[in-house]
């Protein structure tokens, strides 16, 4: 019995690291976008398109890292589209996000059809479990380099938002567009750039889905991870480092189902599949308030009230 519990816990650790990586990238992208005062709900579509493009590029070029780059470029195209459209007056960024979600998913399914069957080269992993004899631990600690790239990006983002000139510009635009305009900053241009970069990061998150874990391309690859990552940013109070921690928490929740399955508990598999959604909703309920706006929220953000 103890062994089974240990197996589940180890599988959950490994699962948390694997499952959290796409959450982390999408959340970091959305965090940057929201810091500048705009919401991009379309990152779910960006994630799916990124996954498809990464798989296709890896299949054609034979290099999974080129796939990651291509996914980022595709994601930044969608981000730039969102950024341009929302720069027009009287356009609602939340509604455009929903439209971009449908558009990105549609385009990914359209061009992704021929890539469902073929095998593309995947991203390798770093075996961090070399010191252990336990095969479970070894397989759990097969960590994809993108996980560490994500953590580095989070640190860089947190540092530069706080300490650099462009970090100050982004925060000013996000907290008070009027003040930014008075300083001679082009609010639309800054938001366009943050949405584009945010799209790039979300696209890379998609590349992880198709090239590492689960590691194949199909139409059911992402079911709401992009959306949950957007909710996660509210929970992480717009701080890139807390985004990483929150992503790990979500990854752990997402790993419950598969981990239990690994020791033969298949009862309630669908219930545990729903765990991340329920957790997201619970966290949103716990951290929101009807009376005042969320802590540390950028002043220009209209979404969380």
């Amino acid at each position: 019995m103890n062994d089974a519990v240990l197996t589940v816990l180890i599988a959950m650790l490994g699962g948390a690291i694997r499952v959290s990586t796409p959450f982390m990238f999408v959340a970091l992208g959305e965090c940057l976008t929201e810091k500048s005062g705009r919401v991009n709900l379309g990152l779910e579509g960006t994630l799916v398109l990124g996954a498809m493009v990464a798989y296709a590029a890896s299949y054609h070029t034979g290099s999974p890292w080129l796939g990651v780059l291509a996914a980022g470029v595709a994601g930044s195209f969608l981000g730039a589209m969102h950024g341009t459209i929302c720069g027009l007056p009287r356009v609602n960024d939340v509604a455009v996000g929903i439209a971009m979600m449908l558009f990105g998913t549609g385009v990914a399914f359209f061009f992704g059809k021929p890539y469902i069957q073929p095998e593309a080269p995947r991203l390798g992993s770093i075996p961090l479990g070399f010191w252990s004899d336990s095969p479970n631990l070894k397989s759990a600690l097969q960590v994809n380099p993108l996980f560490f790239v994500g953590i580095l990006i989070a640190i860089a983002l947190a540092w530069s938002l706080r300490n650099t000139r462009w970090g100050l510009v982004v925060r000013t635009v996000g907290d008070s567009a009027a003040a930014a305009r008075a300083m001679g900053i082009s609010v639309n241009w800054v938001r366009f750039l943050t949405t584009t970069v945010g799209g790039f990061l979300a696209g890379v998150g998609g590349a992880f889905l198709s090239l590492s874990y689960p590691g194949s391309w199909n139409q059911g690859l992402s079911s709401g991870q992009g959306l949950m990552a957007v909710a996660l940013v509210i929970f992480a109070r717009w701080n890139p480092l807390r985004c990483v921690a929150a992503a790990l928490l979500f990854g752990g929740a997402g790993a419950i189902g598969p981990s239990l399955q690994s020791v033969g508990i298949t009862q309630g598999y669908y219930f545990f599949n729903a765990a991340p959604y329920i957790l997201t909703l619970a966290i949103m309920i716990a951290t929101s308030s009807a009376k005042h706006s969320a802590r540390d929220m950028p002043g220009e953000l209209s979404m969380a009230k």
């Binding site: 709900l41 356009v91 929903i98 359209f110 909703l281």
Partner: protein
């Protein structure tokens, strides 16, 4: 979203209304035609972009149009198929339009449809053989509406009581709803005699809802039309609807007026969910005959687009829903004859949606739509 309500036309309506009092019909026509011309213009632009897309991948846009016509509208069979498919679109579009009137962007129609359909099937299975078909179907429909209404009502309540963003929460509830159905359909309620697809037990032909006499179209279409008219009157001709629109226009003003804002928000959300739940009931009782994963066919998402294109006006929803029902119905033909993937329709829908929302920026820019005296004001 209470600070930036969707219904941005509210102040314009007020201006138009005050002018109409002392002006003539022509002025009103001119002011309102903006809301017809700009969406049609957006549709035309989206169609042109999609035609370019087809040309770029080496397909003929003319073929595409002719297949949409043949597959969706051209023959009596295809037209009936289109009406059949537009029934859930009408109902899921209402599920977006009603909350939009009160300033909420609810996109949980898909979840309420799936859960409502599943709940009605689960309720019916023990009743089959013991209760006659007609009462069973009535109870099923009411139960589907109650479950759907409860589901989207949660998102409305959380919005009011906890300030939880309703767009995200309603979509999360959709995923949870689909997971709940899968949990039961693959487990406790699975029909073990059917090895192919995890489903509930079939209702059996005696317990299926019939078609409108002389057609192949099921009754869901009629219910959709009736609900559109009823909800139009509710939202634009009753105190309730007026209070809801005031809340959507200015949340703080509604609070200051002492309107029961919380009750209005939850009621509008519950009505929305009930519409989508009813769509699920008709999918089960008229089309599928059982509940399974086919319920999550994306009607809830297409319904979002239908509602936005109809500018959340219940009376405009049916024609728009029929247009998109035809597009969905012709998907199979396009797939076979033009060798295009089934996601082609999704691409077109996404494109229309994006262009439509972009066109929001055009309102108020053209002086041709403004009453004569107002031309120099912006």
């Amino acid at each position: 979203m209470s600070d930036a309500p969707l219904a941005t036309e509210a102040p314009r309506d007020v201006i138009a209304a005050s002018r109409a009092a002392r002006s003539d019909f022509a002025v009103r026509l001119r002011a309102n035609s903006e809301y017809v011309v700009i969406p049609l213009f957006a549709l035309a632009i989206a169609a042109a972009l999609f035609a370019l897309f087809l040309v770029a991948i080496g397909k003929s846009p003319v073929d595409f149009i002719s297949y949409v016509w043949r597959g969706g509208f051209g023959t009596s069979f295809s037209l009936q198929n289109t009406l059949q498919r537009s029934a859930p679109l009408i109902l899921t579009a209402l599920a977006v339009a009603i909350p939009a009137r009160i300033g909420l962007i609810m996109i949980g129609g898909e979840g309420a449809l799936v859960l409502g359909g599943f709940a009605s099937a689960a309720l019916a299975i023990p009743m089959i053989g013991h209760v006659p078909p007609m009462p069973t179907l009535i109870v099923m429909g009411l139960f589907a509406m109650a479950v759907g209404g409860f589901w989207v009502g949660i998102a409305g309540y959380l919005r009011y009581a906890r300030g939880v963003n309703e767009t995200i929460s309603s979509l999360l509830l959709t995923y949870i709803g689909i997971a709940i159905m899968n949990f039961f359909v693959e487990g406790a309620l699975r029909d073990l005699t059917d090895p192919n697809k995890p489903s509930t037990k079939p209702l059996g032909s005696a317990y299926m809802i019939g078609t409108i006499p002389g057609t192949e179209v099921h009754w869901g279409f009629v219910f959709g039309l009736v609900l559109c008219v009823a909800l139009y009157f509710l939202m634009s001709r009753t105190t309730f609807g007026f209070a809801a629109r005031v809340t959507g226009g200015n949340f703080r003003a509604a609070l200051a007026q002492g309107l029961p804002v919380g009750r209005l928000i939850v009621t509008c959300s519950a009505i929305a969910g009930a519409c989508a739940g009813l769509a699920g009931f008709f999918e089960v009782a008229a089309i599928q005959g059982r509940a399974n994963a086919s319920l999550a066919a994306g009607y809830g998402f297409t319904g979002i687009l239908v509602s936005f294109l109809a500018r959340h006006n219940p009376l405009i929803i049916p024609p728009v829903a029929i247009l998109f029902g035809g597009l969905v119905a012709s998907g199979g033909l396009i797939q076979r004859r033009m060798d295009l993937p089934d996601a082609t329709v999704l691409v077109l829908q996404g494109l229309i949606f994006v262009v439509l929302l972009t066109s929001e920026t055009l309102y108020g820019r053209f002086s041709i739509f403004k009453p004569p005296g107002e031309k120099d004001r912006t």
